[in-house]
């Protein structure tokens, strides 16, 4: 009897402790600042707000583009005008005032022509990159990464370009590529994501500012990991970058993309397009760590991340692997897709999406099987905390000719807290009787036994959650290149800090 009473008392005490703990966590969340929230005071040339044909022409003119590209932009713009902002996502996308955005910001405009040596780059700008930890300059050699840093709209500096060019690899900003390799760009631009693909793709095609262009020639293994860093800096400028990767026969490239944006109250628009073309026996690995500003604890501000990413596996035995870690953005709307056109082609999609506070993410992939004996794997891990909404939305389509197609999808959701939501919307359209398609999904909260086990061994609840979540996301993080994996792991912990009581 006595023991029972004691136990009850203990329980009571513990119960009393809990809410306090909770409050502390909540406070720490509220007080936690966005680590990358700073503004660089750089002279930026911004064209007037608003969007019309003249703006499209002006962007094209400022970049000195050829006539065909202007026409490409204008066609896209005219199509965009006829379309409506889509509403099907499980997110609360605010009505975006497209006239209140400036469509072009050039932080290097001061020095008229692009900087040629490192000294020419604005020192303030260099500081920004320092804070972001981009391995520019001395760090270049150490990290061995070639970086095409994109700040607002103009590619600031591309490192290691010479070294790559020895192998015949082209890695430069897309505006540079338009000038230097117009035929290549013209041949591939818009062939994977046509300008009429969707509303945001049309918008991007009309006003895209800059981005990266990668071309890997035949039978070349890119000796280093290519990387680009996007950052939205100027106020009220949308970032409309465009990346085009072409991997020719028998080649391999691993491409990294990381994103940050400073703290802003207004929602910043980010509508990007990534196109990947993969020929026979080639392989591309595309990794993203996205930590755009997610808005504050009350859900004010944050980036609207509305991205179209697609890879076209044109060749036989080609391979594409998407890996993404999504921790930022107020709203994420992103479906990196694969069109498995070539026979025996293989596609993979690994994703970790973390949402906290009032973030909303609707992300997933599309696997379109068209070739014979094509294989795809989808591993998606969603983690929601706070008041956030996290959705997986995916499509697996097996075309009539895609004999022997194989797909395995697994989508798990982890819920931390009772005010968040986790949703799964998988679509499977199978038009072939030799296909084998499997999908499984689970949703659950963090395992009490595991937490208890950690607690018992003196690990605080918060740390334990960090451990469990990291273990949970391990399948995906393991797929990231080394330096990204470390960053991703840290980001996971930072994003979830204070979300568990």
């Amino acid at each position: 009897m006595k023991n029972n009473n004691e136990q009850q008392n203990n329980n009571k005490e513990r119960n009393n402790e809990r809410p306090q703990e909770k409050n502390e966590f909540v406070r720490s969340v509220a007080e936690k600042m966005y680590e990358f929230g700073f503004t660089t005071d750089v002279h930026t040339e911004i064209i007037d707000k608003g969007l019309n044909e003249d703006v499209v022409r002006l962007i094209s003119q400022k970049k000195g583009e050829p006539e065909w590209l202007l026409q490409f932009r204008l066609d896209a713009y005219r199509y965009w005008l006829t379309q409506q902002q889509p509403e099907w996502g499980h997110v609360h996308l605010p009505e975006i005032d497209y006239q209140a955005i400036s469509y072009y910001a050039d932080p290097t405009a001061k020095s008229k022509k692009g900087p040629e040596t490192v000294d020419e780059i604005d020192p303030e700008l260099m500081k920004t990159f320092d804070k972001l930890g981009i391995p520019l300059e001395e760090r270049l050699a150490l990290s061995g990464t070639a970086v095409d840093a994109v700040m607002d709209s103009v590619s600031v500096k591309t490192t290691f370009k010479e070294k790559l060019s020895e192998k015949g690899i082209i890695f430069c900003s897309i505006s540079e590529a338009v000038k230097q390799y117009p035929d290549l760009v013209r041949q591939y631009l818009g062939t994977v994501v046509p300008p009429r693909d969707n509303y945001f793709a049309a918008l991007n095609s009309a006003v895209f500012s800059d981005g990266s262009f990668v071309y890997i020639p035949k039978n070349t293994r890119c000796p280093m990991e290519l990387s680009t860093y996007f950052r939205i800096n100027a106020r009220n400028t949308g970032q409309f970058e465009r990346t085009l990767i072409v991997c020719d026969e028998g080649s391999y490239v691993s491409y990294l993309e990381g994103c940050t944006a400073p703290m802003r109250d207004e929602n910043q628009l980010h509508a990007a397009i990534v196109e990947i073309v993969i020929n026979d026996h080639a392989e591309v690995k595309y990794s993203t760590v996205q930590n755009w500003y997610p808005g504050d604890a009350e859900g004010k501000g944050g980036v609207l991340n509305l991205v179209t990413k697609r890879g076209d596996l044109r060749g036989v035995n080609s391979k594409l692997s998407w890996t993404q870690v999504e921790t930022g953005s107020a709203i994420t709307w992103k479906y990196p897709s694969c069109v498995l056109r070539g026979d025996n082609s293989q596609a993979e999609f690994y994703s970790v999406a973390v949402t906290n506070n009032h973030q909303e993410a609707d992300t997933g992939t599309k696997m379109i099987h068209l070739g014979k004996n094509t294989r795809s794997t989808i591993i998606s891990k969603g983690i929601s905390a706070g008041y956030s909404e996290n959705s997986y939305r995916g499509l697996v389509r097996v075309g009539k000719q895609a004999d022997g197609a194989r797909n395995y999808s697994s989508c798990d959701s982890l819920l931390l807290g009772s005010n968040c939501g986790a949703h799964t919307f998988p679509y499977m359209d199978i038009h072939n009787n030799t296909a084998t398609v499997e999908h499984e999904a689970t949703t659950s909260k963090i395992n009490e036994d595991q937490l208890f086990y950690c607690n018992q061994r003196g690990i605080s609840t918060e740390e334990a959650v960090g451990l469990i979540v990291n273990g949970y996301a391990k399948d995906v993080i393991n797929k990231l290149p080394m330096e990204f994996a470390v960053e991703a792991q840290k980001l996971l912990n930072v994003s979830l800090e204070g979300s568990v009581g």
């Binding site: 097996v398 009772s418 968040c420 998988p426 499977m428 199978i430 009787n433 296909a435 999904a441 689970t442």
Partner: protein
């Protein structure tokens, strides 16, 4: 050309006749339902829940509306709503989704309602059988309405059979509303054996109170175009629901099942298992959503959808969805689309079983999981035989039907 226009005109012409044949409870909601339909029209493929079925095309033929009266055998549980032993106002058209165009159309056009009423603590031993026979001399549209009220602690099994003569085009719209008061148990079976010319749109809405247990089993054995919608609202703690589905498609059949299980309160359990075999040029579609409200903690839910594509022209669409707003839940779903196990086929052929036979055996075993769930022994045995015959191709939909023998 939009097909809704003819139904709007039809209603405007025939409303007074329908109203005269009907009763006040049904007439009370009729005009409102009609205006809902008028403003909605038929759902296009852009409407998420109707993504896989072309409703407009199914309703396009010029159907005559059937106003034939219900035949109710004297029984203490089945009634024509006109002779209802209870006040049905709190039940009729209360759980049905008033924003669904098919439900709205049905509510506007239906002239009679079948009421199954099981009083408090009553156990109905024998299954209540509702036979729906379609026969006629012209293309006919049938609007059917069933209201099932299970009082506290009531227990019943209801079997609904759909049959048709094969010479005519028929279109059936059906709305079934089920109210289970606390502690009620209901097994509801729907077995469809119609013809390739038939189109069926069935909307079933189930509301469950505390400690209820409901099983809904839908067997689409032979059909033309079938669209079954089943919405379950779990509104009392410790409620249980099981949804089972068996769909066999051949020729150019179209089978679309769309379910929603809405967990509104804590501690409920839901299970769902739908299996499809699609052959020839048939199309199968399944969309099942499990929606767990913020307060519905301790929910346990399991959804399975397994499909077999037996020919290269068959198409299968599947969409198992989870929408979860509570954190202390255990929800899982699994979905597969696959082919027959070549190794198993080879094993059987090696032992002298002809390929067709081996394939039929495998399909039969595959579907067995769903039939096993049927609680009523006699019905289960009957379904085993029917499913097996269906796979062997010697399906005799007439054999136990009294339609032509009368």
């Amino acid at each position: 050309m939009k097909s809704e226009q003819q139904y709007i005109e039809l209603y405007q012409e025939a409303a007074s006749i329908i109203k005269a044949k009907s009763c006040p409870v049904m007439n009370a909601v009729r005009n409102e339902a009609f205006s809902t339909f008028q403003c909605l029209g038929f759902p296009s493929k852009k409407v998420e829940r109707y993504k896989y079925t072309d409703v407009d095309a199914a309703f396009a033929p010029n159907y005559g509306i059937s106003l034939s009266p219900l035949t109710v055998k004297p029984s203490s549980y089945i009634f024509n709503i006109k002779d209802a032993p209870i006040d049905v106002t709190p039940y009729y058209h209360r759980v049905a989704d008033v924003t669904d165009a098919i439900t709205a159309l049905n509510t506007a056009l239906v002239h009679e309602t079948l009421l199954v009423y099981v009083p408090k603590n009553t156990v109905v031993e024998d299954p209540v059988v509702v036979d729906n026979y379609l026969r006629g001399t012209a293309a006919t549209m049938m609007n059917r309405r069933v209201l099932i009220v299970m009082e506290q602690g009531a227990k019943a099994t209801i079997v609904m059979n759909d049959k048709a003569t094969d010479k005519q085009q028929y279109l059936t719209t059906q709305v079934v509303e089920v109210y289970c008061h606390d502690n009620a148990t209901l097994d509801l079976y729907e077995i469809e054996e119609t013809t390739p010319l038939c189109a069926r749109f069935s909307n079933v809405y189930i509301r469950e109170g505390r400690d209820c247990s409901v099983k809904h089993n839908v067997f689409t054995l032979f059909n033309g175009l079938t669209r079954n919608l089943c919405d379950v609202y779990l509104q009392g703690e410790h409620g249980e629901v099981t949804l089972n589905g068996c769909a066999i498609g051949s020729g150019s059949r179209h089978i679309d099942n769309n379910t929603l299980i809405h967990h509104q309160v804590p501690q409920c359990v839901s299970r769902e298992c739908y299996k499809y075999v699609v052959d020839d040029k048939s199309v199968g579609a399944f969309a099942g959503k499990i929606l767990v409200d913020k307060d519905a903690q301790k929910t346990s839910s399991h959804e399975t959808n397994a499909n077999l594509c037996a020919s290269s022209d068959a198409r299968m669409y599947t969409q198992p969805m989870l929408e979860i707003y509570a954190d202390d839940v255990k929800c899982a779903h699994g979905s597969t689309v696959g082919v027959m196990d070549e190794a198993a086929l080879f094993y059987m052929r090696q032992r002298g079983i002809p390929e067709d036979e081996a394939r039929a055996l495998l399909k039969n075993a595959f579907m067995g999981e769903v039939v096993d769930q049927v609680k009523n022994e006699a019905l289960r045995q009957k379904l085993y035989v029917k499913v097996e015959k269906r796979f062997r191709g010697d399906f005799e939909k007439c054999e136990d039907c009294q339609l032509c023998k009368k």
